[in-house]
């Protein structure tokens, strides 16, 4: 295979994994913007998406199209319960305690999943045929198109929600100025709950669409969560386009690194980028330096 074809191949597969990172990263950002905490249980919602879909298909014999929405619903319910049981009772706690609670929550969800299901790696069937499509010498699986398509739709919906619905605006208002938001009658706690609901839904859907390609198991959430976090950091914790670009950059660099250097370095690349960004541009690749934060 020529280098040009090879590069195209890496680029295409990098874009689709990057899209997944973007969706997970947006989940991180939405919760961060509403609460000021990094929810390290975000990866577990991703895992739950894939594992629940599998469970529903195998145990209840549901077809894929029925299992997916049900799995998203269940994972979202877990997100909602997580906020109600682990975050809300401690809203007065400092952000760092809450962050540690999310780590605890993530370990709990992962442990329970391992006990309920198993430690094996499972594959979800692809959404349509497994016949690869050739594009200018690169082979692309139809699942890649599903991933890109669903990501575009989700990001579009997300954008529309935050800029065009009154609840979306209210959520943004909470993140800019919670005190003023409360005074104009916005229930800040309800917005925090809503942020967990949206993040869990997006995360689980990301976990479902990627599962046919990368397989799923009780512990996929750790790595996917960290990659999503990395995307959000590159995007400056924006719940919009910057994080999407962050995810895509990460996915493509990872895929190029794995292909051209060694696949052993795949994960290392993401974390080197994460560290570089945190050292050099903690405000994100596109953000302005923070001058004042009252």
């Amino acid at each position: 295979m020529e280098l040009g074809n090879q590069l195209l191949q890496y680029l295409l597969s990098g874009l689709s994994t990057g899209a997944i990172y973007a969706l997970i990263g947006i989940g991180f950002s939405i919760i961060y913007n509403a609460t000021g905490i990094i929810n390290f249980a975000q990866g577990e919602f991703v895992m739950l998406g894939g594992m629940l879909t599998l469970f529903l298909m195998e145990t209840l014999k549901l077809p894929l199209w029925a299992a997916i929405p049900l799995a998203v619903l269940l994972a979202t319910l877990v997100g909602l319960l997580f906020e109600r049981l682990a975050i809300r009772p401690l809203r007065k706690a400092s952000p760092i305690s809450l962050v540690i609670i999310t780590i605890g929550g993530s370990i709990l969800i992962r442990g329970l999943s391992m006990l309920i299901w198993d430690k094996d790696t499972h594959a979800l069937p692809p959404f349509s045929s497994e016949e690869p499509i050739m594009i200018a010498g690169a082979t692309v699986l139809p699942q890649h198109f599903w991933i890109l398509g669903i990501t575009v739709v989700l990001i579009g919906l997300n954008k529309w929600f935050f800029s065009h619905t009154i609840s979306g605006k209210a959520m943004r208002a909470c993140s800019y100025n919670p005190r003023a938001a409360g005074l104009v009658g916005i229930d800040v706690r309800r917005m925090v709950l809503l942020s967990f609901v949206i993040s869990a839904a997006m995360g689980s859907l990301a976990g479902i669409i990627v599962a046919p390609l990368t397989m799923t198991s009780y512990d996929v959430g750790v790595m996917l969560g960290l990659k999503g976090f990395c995307a959000a950091i590159i995007g400056g914790m924006s719940s919009g386009i910057p994080t999407v670009i962050g995810g895509l950059i990460l996915g493509v660099l990872e895929s190029l690194g794995a292909g051209l250097i060694s696949s052993g370095y795949k994960d290392a690349i993401a974390f080197v980028i994460l560290l570089l960004i945190l050292f050099i541009r903690p405000q994100g690749l596109f953000g302005k330096p923070e001058s004042e934060r009252v």
Binding site: R172, L183, L194
Partner: protein, 251 residues
């Protein structure tokens, strides 16, 4: 309308307010004045639920509102503005007001997520209403400007528009004239009267005596955490105790 009964606030060993009682009458503009440190802002913070008073009751339209979560106050018909304007900086002027209309929005947690068509028509109605409030305070031409780029005076107008969008029956303004130039202050006085004429009760804490004497129907004077006097602007101006508190005693 609003009754304060025996409000006492103790911070550590400091008594910021000591047994302060007075009532605010509906459809009037009431000014709360007093030298620095008199406890005016503390009083506002208690009424709007930011502080929890050590003793005493705040009765709003017949019910005790002590300890009510702040976001429920707007729904009950009480809003406030801040001395250092609190806006949603990264949103447009129009969006700031639209958010103020949120508490009247019928789209709940799930309605907004799943009943998109409802949300769209509602959004249109809210947008129009927000424009009306911007027109009311006279900054409609700035609707699409990002709020953080507004000059201070316009920001204050926006904060008032956003507060009015909650359709309050009582609006509390913390030093609305602070940071305004004289021309803007004249505009503010006119606006406050317009608000009262809509049937909204106004309470303001203010240092600008000219403004207070000009627009207030009644004035409450605080000094050192206690109520010193209460009456019409005329009465307050002639009250020897008030004069002493402001200008210092002869002795």
């Amino acid at each position: 309308m609003l009754e304060l009964q025996g409000i006492t606030q103790i911070f550590g060993g400091v008594t910021a307010l000591n047994d302060v009682s007075f009532s605010i009458h509906a459809d009037q503009i009431t000014g709360v004045i007093g030298p620095n440190g008199a406890g005016k802002t503390t009083l506002f913070n208690i009424v709007t639920g930011i502080y929890q008073q050590t003793r005493g009751q705040v009765i709003f339209e017949g019910s005790d509102i002590s300890g009510i979560p702040v976001e429920r106050l707007a729904a009950k018909g009480m809003v406030r503005t801040f001395q250092n304007i609190e806006l949603f900086g990264q949103m447009t002027v129009l969006e700031n007001v639209m958010v103020g209309l949120h508490s009247k929005s019928k789209s709940g947690l799930f309605a907004c997520s799943f009943k998109a068509p409802w949300a769209i028509t509602e959004e249109r109605r809210i947008r129009e209403e927000a424009h009306e409030w911007l027109r009311f305070v006279g900054i409609e031409q700035l609707a699409d400007v990002q709020a953080s780029n507004l000059p201070f005076g316009k920001g204050r107008m926006l904060e008032i528009a956003r507060a009015m969008a909650c359709k309050p029956r009582l609006i509390l303004m913390d030093e609305p004239a602070a940071g305004l130039n004289s021309q803007e202050t004249v505009g503010l006085a006119e606006l406050i009267r317009k608000i009262r004429d809509l049937g909204v009760t106004v309470v303001l804490v203010e240092h600008d005596m000219e403004l207070v004497m000009d627009i207030c129907d009644r004035i409450v004077v605080l000094n050192l955490g206690q109520k010193l006097a209460e009456g019409t602007p005329r009465e307050i101006q002639d009250n020897p105790e008030v004069i002493a508190a402001y200008l210092g005693d002869d002795e």
